[in-house]
Symmetry: C2
Subunit: 345 residues, 2 copies
Amino acid sequence: MSALDTSSTGLRAAPSPGTARSTVWPVIRQQVSALEPTVARICSYHLGFTDRHGDPSGAEGGKLTRAGLMTAVADGIGLRPEDVRCQAAALELLHNSTLIHDDIIDADELRRGRPAAWTVFGAGPAILAGDVLQAHGLRMVVDDPGPGRAEISSLFAGAVGLVLAGQARELTVRLGPDAGTAEYDRIVEEKTSALLECALVTPALRAGGPEHVLAALRGAGRHLGLAFQIFNDVEDIWGDPAVTGKPVRSDLLRRNPSFPVLAAMSAGSPAGERLRRLWHADGTTAADLREMADLVEESGGRHTAEQRSRDHLDAALEHLGRAGLSPGATNELTALFDRIVNRTP
Amino acid sequence: MSALDTSSTGLRAAPSPGTARSTVWPVIRQQVSALEPTVARICSYHLGFTDRHGDPSGAEGGKLTRAGLMTAVADGIGLRPEDVRCQAAALELLHNSTLIHDDIIDADELRRGRPAAWTVFGAGPAILAGDVLQAHGLRMVVDDPGPGRAEISSLFAGAVGLVLAGQARELTVRLGPDAGTAEYDRIVEEKTSALLECALVTPALRAGGPEHVLAALRGAGRHLGLAFQIFNDVEDIWGDPAVTGKPVRSDLLRRNPSFPVLAAMSAGSPAGERLRRLWHADGTTAADLREMADLVEESGGRHTAEQRSRDHLDAALEHLGRAGLSPGATNELTALFDRIVNRTP
């Protein structure tokens, strides 16, 4: 898995419903423009509103995947998009706060095909910009006086804490040699699933939905995050860089313990053992990485990962079905889940 | 002023009432120990609970100034320390989240006389630790179900946003050559006063206090922050490094526009003009800095700063008097304000 990168390029590839796009982007733009000017400039650049000089770029970064999920669930339980607009915008700001910091932590120089914010404005200002987005996203939710305010505030604050805990846990795992897939699941549930659960559950809290609906939506978000992250890990090794948006096999290069690698190493096969030796050696050439990729495949790591991703997507859809949303919203979310996981256009 | 350093050593020098110490430290320890292990280790080190190896150090970092203020106000309006214990601990965590990030942003290698967290654990993990403390501090407040929950949550989220905005504004000012004292006041009100106001106002929100009490406490916090920060700036130039805890004249070395410098440059005197030229030159030797310090004094910058700090302290105490707290608490807070500003033991 791409260490600390909770957005990952696959979520970007999923188109958001037009509703989220038209209702949420204006709120994000307005909130960002009201921030302290230096921070506003960094965030506007990061979100794609402006170029490095502060001039309009005519584009927007990200696909508002989380806002799209939230808006679709809202529709499925009889709320209007406006009823969760503030929360949807806040969730995207919180997500982007983690991206800005991730890029610094990982020294990633590219984000959405452009120079990462810290490379343009410096690490110090970019740290502050991420801090401000985190504080502001939580503030928007805390200050919104609508129904379920306290519950939604707790959900958001808890979710942000989980994302950060997962990122921290991943840093530690990366240092350790033999993380298991159980630890992997835990990290992904924190760093990737938590905000997806937040997106799905918020409308139900706003509408005062019963516990079984909340539980179904939580389960859908949990499995959606796992399905996405595992497929994302597969794509890192065997995907098209033009689609993934990052150099091929960067997880192998960085020795990030992605799911296919963990599955391969735990298979106990000769190929898995060979992979383990290469993993701990220094090899970073394209040939080294290709050899590692072949060993992951030979020891069944790719097959296991692809199967596991499909299983989690099935489980996510099964949970979604139990939430009792309107058929139209369930269909829309089913298609959205599939696009998120499999990066189909 | 010490750029981005919202704690500043002076606040640390002020002893907190024993009540805050005995009621709040245990909560902080408990909350930190429950965080993700890597983050917990970094935060425990930063707070002085442990050394770099994770072994108990038998010490605690910081003086819980903000928790002390909150506890004293609570007492002054008839609350028990336990009624604001969670908020007091959260405020200290939030304050420390900004310190951990500040040290990275400023590349400060020392904090409270020990190597700063980022120098021990790396910038990436320290960024995450600061992020986690921010999210967790807000979460504690958001999740606490006591009276005034929504108002206190808004207060905290807003205050954190102000601190960060002030820090960002300061970064920009540092880049510009001629910040005025009005801009200085605004930055200090954000980066320093906001959390002090939060400390003073929280008990009144918890007790459902009337608007005139809230306004008086807000005003007290605002002026207290200004009085403290300006005196802190004076100490940076003419104070004893053993007391300030940082190298003498570091603001001059870094060309941070501190209050005495701004006052000197805006005096329009020949000494002020000479200072301006030196400020924009490259001189960083001890002799250069001493010459700059002498010019600040010659153009009246020191005198103006000392007078302004006293005026703000008087104003803070006047506002405090209007809050109608119990005489005992007012006396305690009066002494505390004086110790905070003037660093008397």
